[in-house]
């Protein structure tokens, strides 16, 4: 990566030329153009191509960054937060994740002039593939990014689409793009926003209800829910909650679309046991893991291995390899589903008999373990 200063795009020759379309196969290098602080722990990184290029993609799609961190090459997928209607740049929006290798590296190191490799765009989570008369965008945390790309696109096309954008955040100060979303509501008659905050934090004047998104709350915000094309992105637990809510409401799920943070759920095989998260997100919600012998119940995020959550909660459980090879952490699962990517430390018939390796299992719901 080098800090090459290019002539400004505003120079008369460059400005008058019509740039070609960006093609990741040929132009696989992006240059950081700008870093914008969105909230206290969220930054947007704007990139441009090495030579003038126009970015054309479907709003909601993602790119894959290839980063070299501490000598190791790491690939991470990030949904694009900018709209294709601002084709000179492309942005991703990243929340700093405690312990997150990539998010922290980006926050601490990425600055204008730095080059990175990028692949894509890819993905089929886009309002352009499911055009409807009315949309409901549901997002949790930094799951806002693909929906922001869609909202910005619909806004800038000037067609006054009917959109309700319901975003869930930890507290008012964690709402990403709050002011830009508000600005879009001023310029249109059919674009509305609603924010659901877990708690008010320091925003004492926050008047909206606090807590988690629920069906009654959603119905009160969007009474015509059933007539809308729904796009949802957020932590797995958040989306599971939304799906359950919509099913309870009798919603026709053919009109429900979601972007998973976990690539496993999209059927993409990961080379490593670790699940790669789009957006390096820390999902807000978590599942309960009950250990019957220890009499402990702990919280475990859907992107977290049960062993890690148990250790973080101060439990001392036997383990060794932490990658599903040795089987030292083998435990009997009494209830609940998990996603396990083991390395040969457990046999299929043991799995069939209800055993799991907690070092490489992530909860898909509340789980009870005999340990």
């Amino acid at each position: 990566m080098s800090d090459v200063i290019r002539p400004s795009r505003l120079g008369p020759e460059l400005w008058d030329a019509t740039p070609g379309k960006w093609n990741a196969d040929e132009d696989d290098t992006l240059i950081c153009a700008h870093v914008r602080q969105e909230t206290h722990d969220v930054k947007s990184f704007l990139f441009r191509a090495q030579s003038p290029r126009l970015f054309r993609f479907r709003p909601g799609q993602f790119i894959t960054l290839e980063l070299e961190i501490d000598g190791a090459v790491i690939n991470r997928c990030y949904t694009i937060s900018s709209p294709p209607t601002r084709p000179d740049t492309l942005s991703i929006t990243v929340k700093r994740h405690p312990g997150g290798k990539v998010s922290n590296w980006l926050h601490d190191n990425m600055k204008p002039g730095l080059k990175i490799k990028a692949l894509g765009p890819s993905g089929d989570f886009s309002c352009t593939l499911h055009a409807g008369p009315r949309y409901l965008f549901l997002s949790g945390g930094s799951g806002v990014t693909p929906l922001m790309s869609m909202a910005r696109t619909l806004y800038e096309l000037g067609e006054d689409h009917d959109v309700v954008f319901v975003h869930s955040a930890r507290s008012p100060r964690d709402i990403i793009f709050r002011h830009e979303l508000a600005m879009m509501t001023y310029g249109t008659s059919n674009f509305r926003t609603a924010f659901v905050c877990e708690k008010i934090g320091e925003a004492r004047d926050w008047s909206a209800p606090t807590g988690y998104l629920s069906l009654p709350l959603l119905k009160s915000i969007v009474p015509d829910l059933a007539q809308r094309e729904i796009f949802c992105c957020g932590p797995e637990a958040y989306m599971a909650n939304v799906r359950a809510m919509l099913r309870d409401a009798g919603f026709d799920m053919a009109h429900y679309h979601e972007e998973s943070f976990s690539f496993e759920r999209q059927g993409v095989r990961q080379p490593e046991a670790e699940t790669v998260l789009v957006g390096d997100e820390t999902p807000a919600a978590s599942f309960k893991i009950e250990f019957t012998r220890s009499g402990r119940t702990i919280d475990c995020r859907p992107d977290q291995f049960i062993l890690d959550a148990a250790r973080a909660a101060g439990m001392r459980l036997p383990f060794s390899c932490s990658k599903g090879v040795c089987g030292t952490c083998k435990s009997k699962k009494l209830s609940g589903q998990v996603a396990m990517t083991h390395g040969g430390g457990i046999r299929q018939r043991e799995i069939d008999a209800g055993m799991i390796l907690i070092c490489c299992s992530k909860p898909l719901e509340n789980v009870t373990i005999e340990k």
Binding site: S320, C321, V325, C326, G345, R349
Partner: protein
């Protein structure tokens, strides 16, 4: 291994046709020599494929102070390792049988894959070269589902010859399509050679094995002719000729092949008629399992016997298989491991009853164990001296001893010069 001049002299002066001088059955020096040159350098029968039907299944083989673990790996290949962690030597796999993902030492969790490769260690530093600490492998030989191991670096090559010759006999019984219906470990209080001597003759059968002799003819292993038994022996000989012709025509090799002291990997086989109903080694000589083995359709196929030096014998009937493995524990104790196999689709309680299936050999083993103990006790007497084997009924005992001494002499550098004591009578 260093051996004393006294033992060297004893090996040199062994008198063919006689049992051995007492120290061969009792001393630690001879036992250590046996474990080194007999059990350490020859093919040892240890179990069957149905012991480990699925990947990750293992069984352990106790052999003196050594333990071997036999596993089935993810490619369904059978492998064997010394059951010793390369870290500080802890025993790896417990019990007689089990199932693992990878082989993990319970002490410090050193983890080996099923090919024996060390794949995980903690706290050994970044420079630690795991490739230098794979499990120590043991050779595996497989004859149509009978599993043998050899601890030698270079195992006897004539195993392959035995395999090629024996497979046509055993394959119709299809061991790999069997399950173990019953198994039993019996510790006999005697030297392993007493166990083998006892097995290689039926001199003792009539008086000691009321259950076994329901179906087993005592003539199959040598008999002294006399006017009283001449008709019976002649009838048995004619029966063998007739039955062999019938079985061979069904594609079941039956004729005797005998290399009990003429090869390093020594064996004998023959399909022998059974008495009464002629079907199986049971209390009424009828099948103990209604579902026959492999594609067999006839019940009266007698019993195919297979004896190997130094430590096994096997009986294959139309409905079930019984296999025996002799594993020395110490100079005066021996483990006899017996397994009863039936077709894997046979249903317990409907097609067979494990008790009924196993009772003949369960009783016979107990009786043999008592006989072995009786010899062991007797050999401790100051009055004990080697006694003569019967040239009629104990020829196979002599062949066992002849093989044993040939192997001792070959492996300890003695000249081999043996003459069959029974040459004149043969």
């Amino acid at each position: 291994m260093q051996i004393s001049n006294e033992l060297r002299a004893m090996i040199g002066r062994r008198r063919p046709g006689y049992s051995l001088e007492a120290p061969f059955y009792r001393t630690k020096e001879v036992f250590d020599l046996d474990m080194d040159v007999i059990f350490g350098r020859h093919w040892i029968y240890v179990g069957v494929e149905p012991d480990i039907p699925e990947p990750g299944d293992y069984f352990t083989v106790p052999l003196g102070r050594t333990s071997i673990v036999v596993v089935r790996d993810d490619d369904m290949t059978v492998r064997a390792f010394h059951n010793v962690c390369r870290h500080r030597g802890a025993r790896l796999c417990d019990g007689e049988k089990g199932s693992v993902g990878n082989v993990v030492c319970p002490y410090h969790q050193w983890t080996y894959d099923l090919t024996g490769k060390l794949i995980h260690t903690e706290h050994m530093g970044d420079e630690f070269d795991r490739s230098q600490f794979s499990l120590k492998t043991v050779h595996v030989g497989n004859i149509a589902g009978l599993l043998f191991i050899c601890l030698a670096d270079e195992p006897p090559a004539d195993f392959e010859q035995m395999r090629q010759e024996m497979e046509p006999y055993i394959l119709p019984h299809r061991i790999s399509d069997c399950k173990i219906a019953y198994e039993e470990d019996l510790i006999e209080n005697g030297n392993w050679k007493f166990t083998m001597e006892n097995n290689r003759e039926c001199y003792h059968c009539k008086a000691n094995h009321p259950e076994l002799t329901v179906s087993l003819y005592e003539f199959g292993f040598g008999y002294q002719p006399s006017p009283e038994n001449a008709d019976e022996v002649q009838a048995f000989r004619e029966l063998i000729v007739r039955e062999h012709a019938r079985w061979e025509s069904c594609g079941l090799p039956s004729v005797e092949r005998e290399f009990l002291d003429s090869r390093v990997t020594a064996y004998r086989t023959e399909r022998l008629p059974l008495d009464k109903a002629g079907e199986s080694q049971t209390m009424n000589s009828k099948v103990a399992c209604q579902k026959l083995l492999g594609d067999l359709t006839q019940r009266n196929l007698g019993g195919l016997s297979f004896w190997t030096q130094p430590n096994s014998w096997h009986h294959f009937m139309s409905d079930h298989i019984v296999t025996f493995s002799v594993l020395p524990i110490d100079p005066e104790r021996t483990l006899l491991r017996t397994k009863w196999l039936v077709h894997k689709d046979a249903v317990e309680g409907r097609d067979y009853d494990p008790k009924q299936l196993s009772e003949v050999w369960h009783e016979t083993n107990k009786q043999d164990g008592a006989l072995v103990e009786r010899t062991q006790i007797g050999s401790q007497s100051a009055a004990y001296q080697p006694g003569p084997y019967s040239p009629y009924t104990e020829e196979l005992v002599e062949k066992f001893m002849s093989w044993y001494f040939k192997r001792l002499r070959a492996e300890t550098g003695h000249e081999t010069a043996t003459v069959s004591p029974f040459a004149a009578s043969a």
